[in-house]
Amino acid sequence: MQVEKFYYDNKSVRMFGYATVLWGVVGMLAGLLIAVQIYLPAANFNLPFTTFGRVRPVHTNAVIFAFVGNGIFMGVYYSLQRLCKARMFSDVLSKIHFWGWQLIIVLAAVTLLSGYTSGKEYAELEWPIDILITLIWVVFGINMFGTIITRRESHLYVAIWFFIATWVTVAMLHIVNSFEVPFSWMKSYSFYAGVQDALVQWWYGHNAVAFFLTTPYLGLMYYFIPKASNRPVYSYRLSIVHFWALIFIYIWAGPHHLLYTALPDWAQSLGTVFSIMLIAPSWGGMLNGLFTLRGAWDKVREEPVLKFMVVAVTCYGMATFEGPLLSLKTVNAISHFTDWTIGHVHIGALGWNGFLTFGMLYYLTPKLFNTPLYSKKLATNHFWIGTIGIVLYAIPLYWAGFTQAEMWKQFTEEGQLKYTFLETVTHIIPMYITRSIGGLLYLTGVFIMVYNLGKTIAAGSFIGDEEAEAPALPKVPETHGKQYWHRWIEARPIQMLIVSLVAVAIGGIIEMVPTFLIKSNIPTISSVKPYTPLELQGRDVYIREGCYLCHSQMIRPFRDEVARYGEYSKAGEFVYDHPFQWGSKRTGPDLARIGGKYPNAWHYNHMWDPRSISPGSIMPQYTWLFDNKIDTALTGAKIRAMITLGVPYPKDYDKIANDDLVTQAKSIQENLKKDKIETPGNVEIVALIAYLQRVGTDIKAAPKQVASLK
């Protein structure tokens, strides 16, 4: 039993820590901006790259992948080394991982603000960045598994299990949801369409919550709460049981994002059932974390680190109780498309992810810099300001969501809808204002933390490589029950890893390729036809400006929705929608049947200045659409990509597509002239109008509709 001397790498931990704080500030500032834009449309500044539709994805990507992402890596790099009693497998890979991840973030910010988006929430980054994400994730995986394989502690502490599950599942999710066909250097169309795309998207989306925002942080909780309180985990057995239950059940919960949509009923029910079952393992984690502090609550009173962690775990429990409730169809019928969902998200995001990250930062910084925290008082102030911030954020949104949903459903005695959509928005503006104050408080707390940590770092001296020693793992392990399998697996860990990856890859490819080659996209509604080239260009403008972030395109089979928007949405209407644009929030009204509702001139004026048509509207202006020329050079490539995806354009249609585009644009131009509007025919607003006038009209169309597509 030779005792070996080695060093823990703290440099990577420090770098990830800095990045966590930096991107946290950036992401939360973006969040504050968009929160203000909702009640102050002037804050969009009438510029494309500051408008809500472009900044919102920057906010979500920054706080999830940049803030929480770097937080995960900071915590994993610190804890994994110590739990394995081994240095990170490769210093080179650590550096590539760090700089690669930051490069992804910077590219994300630049491309998203420029309008290069896939149009799918939390997966907006376009195909070159998707490839880079895959590469860096693999680098992270090699580094992590390499450390586990070269460990000197044979027992895999529960946190490591959470990290492993995270890595494997995120890899699968990212790859499956990122199947896309490029048509230019920076743009692509989703491989999936309509209902299929919606299902894949929310299978991905909910599992991103599960395996990026939850499982890694549960692993980190199992390390940092015991360490910070110097108490052992309340029940190790419970941690094992709830880990395995959690990862098996979580994957099936995705359809709860699609209740009362055009997704088949049995899939919706499956999502609901598994979401309810999920309460048990989630609360297993919460109770385990809180009970660990039994007998140490006096320490919680003294230590800001523990305060943050207690509230974090409590918010985790609240969010994982609320989530399953929101998955019940009766509750979801009220909450879906409202701010209730946003409130729910931020309990988890601000409470669980944010506060646990702050707890880790306050714990790690003194340790890494070998000096006490500069000011416990400031940290405590941060705690209280942040907590009040969370409350002021979430409660107004619950109120707003519930109120708006009820107003949407209200009928007069004569059987008319009582409120216009705009009236329901105006009614909740005070809640939006309060929410932004909550967010501002939360951000203020973060600034206090930045100051506190800065002073701590300045007073300390960094331990880049931390000395450690531990005996090497014995070649033949101590007596276990089944020695044969243990020895077999331990002797071939790398082979097992490679074989598993290959098996998954082969299995995946074999199953996926034939499925996609088979033309399963037979329209169930024969009158549904592909978009014309001009409409396709317009749809791409809609996606680029992030319209789907405020406007849904999915009318649910409820009396009030059919009365307000028209016939409820059918699955077959979306077969050519690459990507789907059902949306998940109605900050503005649903647009599924907007086609033909208003004259072209109405759309023209509305996009120029929404308030000229609807006083009190909170929608931004989109004046640049009136100057930007339609990128007709890409029309052919777009049509070709769609043909590859099985959309039945005529053969070689890409060669003549622009002719049809110009013809249709001219007719819109002439129609606008009748309403005294002079516009060139080749600007983006014309394309957008063409698209909007088409949306939702196909099911009523006579068979000879869209004469240009013979």
Binding site: H155, V176, V200, W203, P226, G481, W485
Partner: protein
């Protein structure tokens, strides 16, 4: 809707991987000892000398 086949296959594959991992962990004795791991991770500070704050104090 046929994409659900893809999602099922992907999810079941990953679930099978997890099942294999679970069976391995049980068979290899990872859970034979549930008492010492939570305590042992508290003692992983590098310095061989034991500092006062590393000793868990039991409050009755």
């Amino acid at each position: 809707m046929s994409v659900i086949i893809v999602l099922l296959i992907a999810s079941v594959t990953v679930a099978s991987l997890f099942l294999a991992g679970f069976l391995w962990s049980v068979k290899s004795g990872q859970y034979d000892d549930e008492v010492s791991p939570p305590l042992r991770m508290l003692f992983d500070d590098n310095k061989p000398a034991v500092h006062k704050e590393n000793i868990p104090t039991e409050k009755v």
